[in-house]
């Protein structure tokens, strides 16, 4: 009984993909997509919040750091029994590794603290894995989130 259930769950997958324009207003489309994905894959509110944050931070980074690129950004969501893997592909881009950014000094008092740098810092904290690969002009950021049991 337990073995049958485990086997059924291990094959349970949810996949979605979408292309978005390089525009901050596209974040709304990603929110709709993630909400649908989260419903289908029964993702908790806490994990959905983390995924929304990480996806937004990577996309806004791409828009900010690749301003001359007009190609669409490709977002894939892939859920399995214990994790969600998001890939964000930026075709026709130049190499820019968001994971290489230095962490901001968040323990400083407000007088000494500098604005900015929080996006990738937060992404790395709320995801279990953040990877960047660059191949033949396409930058791909992969976000991995292990799901709450």
């Amino acid at each position: 009984m337990h073995a049958e259930r485990a086997m059924a769950e291990s094959t349970e997958r949810t996949r979605m993909e979408r292309e978005i324009t390089r525009d901050l207003n596209s974040l709304e489309h990603i929110t709709v997509m993630l909400d649908e994905f989260s419903r289908e894959h029964r993702i908790s509110d806490a994990d959905r919040f983390s995924l929304a944050l990480a996806i937004e931070e990577i996309i806004t980074n791409i828009i900010r750091h690749q301003p001359k690129n007009n190609s669409a950004i490709h977002v894939r969501m892939n859920g399995s029994v214990d994790r969600v893997v998001i890939t964000i592909e930026d075709p026709e881009s130049v190499f820019f590794d968001p994971t290489a950014a230095k962490d901001p000094k968040v323990d400083l008092p407000i007088e000494e603290r500098k604005p900015g740098g929080l996006g990738i810092f937060l992404t790395k904290r709320v995801m279990d894995e953040v990877r960047y690969e660059f191949h033949e002009g396409t930058g791909t950021t992969t976000l991995v989130k292990r799901l709450e049991s």
Binding site: L24, L27, T31, E57, D107, G116, L118
Partner: protein, 99 residues
Amino acid sequence: MFAISQDEDGTVKLAGRFDAAQVNAAQEVLSKITSSCVIDFKDLDYISSAGLGILFATQKRLKEANQKLTLKNLNSHIRDIFRIARFDLIFDLADSPKG
């Protein structure tokens, strides 16, 4: 959907999703604040680094004039983000539910 408004008593209310596309709308209201006030997060579901950045800049500006923002009713997910970003060192967080 995002909304920002200011009550007659000066309390700023945030609602919906405060993402990078909402920076201008938020900036329009927050840039006019010149004295201490409360920001009510009761109806705010989500915030990203873009929203945190505006709140940080506003707090820093007010602090120079010995004024400050006090934030209340943050949901548990937003409180987690504030804790990771160490914004709990920068803001007074009032009346927030535990968890």
